[in-house]
């Protein structure tokens, strides 16, 4: 089950998954994020999000900590939790 809403990654709660739709930012930011696995179509799972401060995301078998500013610039389509 998938919904079509595009939301910033920072709005996903811990345990929720999403698929990257697009990254908003300069080439530097996009290139850096792409090297860590954040490309359109990639599946992510939020491991930590305490509502403020940085979040932790599972992507490509790695945990990446992202500042809230960066997490606001990654747009995802939320996936129903299938776990």
């Amino acid at each position: 089950m998938e919904t079509n809403n595009s939301v910033p990654l920072s709005q996903l709660e811990a345990g929720e998954s999403g698929v990257v739709l697009r990254l908003r930012g300069g080439r530097g930011f996009v290139g850096r994020m792409a090297a860590l696995g954040f490309t359109p179509g990639a599946t992510l799972r939020v491991a930590r999000n305490s509502g403020g401060g940085p979040i932790i995301v599972d992507v490509l078998d790695t945990q990446i900590a992202l500042g809230r500013g960066q997490a606001n610039r990654v747009y995802v389509r939320q996936r129903e939790n299938d776990e």
Partner: protein, 682 residues
């Protein structure tokens, strides 16, 4: 024998007539961060390594030597990078090195537990055309996490040799070097399967390559330059704009303008290739499995328990440092430095007084005291190194990011600043891990406000003299003061100077793993050496100057140039309730923070006698003056070693002078406020 590439070979006939064949080749070690690359480097080169900086950059360069069979490898450790854009100095160094130095073989270490992401760098390296060997490291960790990677299938898919390894136990390193030797001697045995751009962009990329092909200068590979242009790489664009005829550049630029988001197509193409390479080579983990890392992180990155854990870890680090390092420091001070001073003084009895004074009081008094801090630093750096090595420090950075952010710093600023409690020199050098230049500069500028072991040592001696009943409380207040100033300084600079600048916080949280003692030992060694080098150079020179100022013109400190300076500054001292003696003591802390105590001893004519110093100090300084003196000691300009580190890391005297000016001003203002308030209230 086949000689390949740049490899050189020379044959010599020895005295006994046997032929010795000596071949040298260059091996570059590449990899993403957190893959165990430095462990591999340490195993390969042992103590035959040299640490310096890449020319013109504040990025650490490590090179070493490795003999294997009949090949002598010059091993170059390239900086850890996730990709090869031109965005960071590390990335530029790595790609420039491979393009211009053409190493005979590039060994790229990948983490088997995060293979797909790690192959992104391999995709970038293949585009550069360098002959690769892949070290598939951490296969034990991957197994723990439930992955199975088949190195043979992976190697077949990639067309590149793949060697399974567990570097932390030195497993597979020998095979890795064998593969490197094979490449050097026989060349790559198969053509690698290179990545492509996403299908819908292939035609445009071909068109772009066609436009530049005849103009790309050697030694740049055409395909790579075309790809980098397409990605929007500024270095590639600048290079080609200068070389191409204007009308041709206009055509290229036109294509680039139309495909501004091509970086996504290039990156997606790389992931498609990775998927193709790994599909048959990886077995995925079973779902729902809880790993060791996840279990630890339930606490370590928890918004509440994570903070508690961090506080406990930091408390433990301090406790260990001072309970183990403290007695060792005292032992060194009495049995090594003082014993040596006494011996030196005794053997210089017949020498001119100035020589004895210079050597015993000037040099040993300055450099010697600094050196006694080595045991404390050794313990502190070992515990810190352990925390870094097992992977905890990135959790600490994550936990602290929110707080650091509110004072304009960055989660990654936390680690270097915390190192500052040991010594400010490695703290300032540690700020290198912060990518954003602004955040790094701010961290460097604020680092001197972290009270180092020497400042804390002075507190431990002076506070009980002035405040025998409230020593603990006063010590905590005085330790907290510079930290509060640090936070306020961060907020101010962030609001006023760097407004609107957002420093990106993007950081991998590596899997926890068992510590590798050799890496920690080398790290501790390097940090201690950085500290000792400062002691042996700048601190030595300034010790001599300060000694000269305090001894000339007549060998009597009361009538010395130093006293004259102190008296000249006494109007400023009066604001803070400090006479010229404490003022001079603060000034001499410029050599090393702990000099304050020794200078006070000399100026009040009690020398090293601590009982007498306590008496004369408590008699001659009122409580408000004593507080002002201690506040000044905590805030005054850092020692000359730290200033030298600031110069080295920022590359400019401007920041050093700014630091000195700001902290001097701060000392006078805070000292004055303390004295005036305390006089009113007490």
């Amino acid at each position: 024998m086949c000689v390949n590439g740049k490899m050189t070979s020379s044959e010599q006939v020895t005295a006994t007539g046997t032929q010795v064949v000596e071949k040298t080749a260059t091996l570059a070690l590449a990899g993403q961060p957190n893959v165990g690359k430095s462990t591999v480097f340490n195993i390969l080169t042992g103590l035959h390594q040299h640490v310096g900086n890449w020319p013109g950059k504040t990025v650490e360069q490590r090179v070493g030597r490795l003999e294997h069979d009949d090949v002598i490898f010059h091993v170059v450790d390239l900086p850890g990078t996730y990709c090869l854009t031109a965005a960071s100095p590390e990335e530029r160094i790595t790609r420039d090195y491979i393009i211009h130095q053409e190493p005979d073989v590039v060994v790229v270490i990948v983490n088997a537990a995060a293979l797909e992401r790690n192959l992104y760098l391999v995709a970038e390296l293949l585009a550069l055309g360098a002959p690769l060997v892949i070290g598939l490291n951490m296969i034990d960790v991957a197994e723990q996490e439930g992955f199975e990677v088949d190195p043979e299938i992976l190697s077949e898919n990639l067309g590149v040799p793949v060697v399974p390894m567990v570097a932390s136990r030195a497993v597979g390193v020998h095979d890795l070097v064998d593969e490197a030797v094979a490449i050097v001697e026989e060349g790559p045995s198969s053509e690698p399967h290179r990545p492509h751009v996403r299908q819908d962009h292939q035609q445009v990329l071909d068109e772009l390559r066609g436009l530049i092909e005849d103009y790309v200068p050697a030694p740049y590979p055409h395909d790579w330059v075309a790809l980098k242009l397409f990605e929007g790489d500024e270095e590639a664009a600048t290079m080609m704009r200068d070389i191409l005829p204007p009308e041709r550049w206009a055509m290229v630029d036109d294509i680039l303008q139309q495909h501004e988001d091509a970086i996504i197509a290039v990156a997606s193409g790389r992931y498609e290739w990775i998927e193709e390479m790994t599909r048959t080579a990886i077995k995925r983990p079973r779902i729902g499995r809880v790993t060791v890392t996840q279990r630890i992180d339930r606490v370590a990155t928890h918004p509440f328990w994570g903070l508690i854990l961090l506080a406990l870890v930091l408390a433990l680090i301090f406790e260990l440092t001072y309970s183990l390092g403290g007695p060792l420091q005292e032992w060194m001070a009495t049995h090594v430095v003082e014993a040596f001073s006494a011996w030196l003084a005794a053997s210089l009895v017949s020498a001119p007084a100035w020589l004895s004074g210079l050597l015993v009081d000037g040099i040993l008094g300055g450099v010697g005291t600094v050196v006694t801090f080595v045991p404390i630093l050794a313990v502190f750096f070992t515990v810190m190194g352990l925390m870094e090595d097992i992977g905890y420090m990135s959790r600490a950075a994550y936990i602290m990011d929110r707080f650091m952010h509110s004072v304009g710093l960055h989660g990654k600023s936390f680690m270097p600043l915390f190192l500052g409690f040991g010594c400010n020199v490695p703290a300032i050098m540690g700020a290198r891990i912060i990518e954003s230049r602004r955040s790094r500069l701010l961290t460097i500028m604020l680092a001197p406000l972290v009270p180092c072991a020497a400042r804390l040592g002075v507190l431990a001696i002076l506070v009980p003299i002035f405040f025998p009943h409230n020593a603990t409380l006063v010590t905590w207040a005085l330790t907290g003061l510079p930290l509060v100033v640090l936070a306020l300084g961060g907020v101010l600079v962030n609001r006023l100077v760097l407004e609107g600048e957002e420093a990106a916080f993007i950081m991998e949280m590596p899997l926890y793993h068992m510590p590798y003692p050799k890496s920690i030992a080398l790290l501790v060694w390097r940090r201690i050496m950085a500290f000792l080098r400062k002691a042996g150079t700048v601190i030595l020179i300034v010790s001599i100057i300060v000694w000269a100022l305090a001894s000339f013109p007549r060998g009597d400190i009361e009538a010395s140039y130093m006293a004259a300076i102190g008296r000249f500054l006494s109007p400023v001292g009066a604001l803070m309730g400090l006479g010229w003696r404490p003022l001079v003591a603060i000034l001499t802390s410029f050599v090393a923070k702990e000099n304050v105590v020794a200078t006070l001893g000399v100026l009040y004519g009690v020398g090293e006698n601590s009982g007498a110093l306590a008496q004369v100090l408590s008699a001659s300084l009122t409580t408000p003056s004593a507080l002002a003196l201690l506040v000044a000691e905590m805030l005054f300009v850092p020692c000359v070693g730290t200033l030298a580190a600031i110069k080295q890391e920022t590359g400019s005297w401007k920041w050093v002078l700014l630091n000195v000016a700001l902290l001097t001003l701060l000392t006078v203002v805070a000292g004055t406020i303390t004295y005036q308030l305390a006089t009113l209230l007490l």
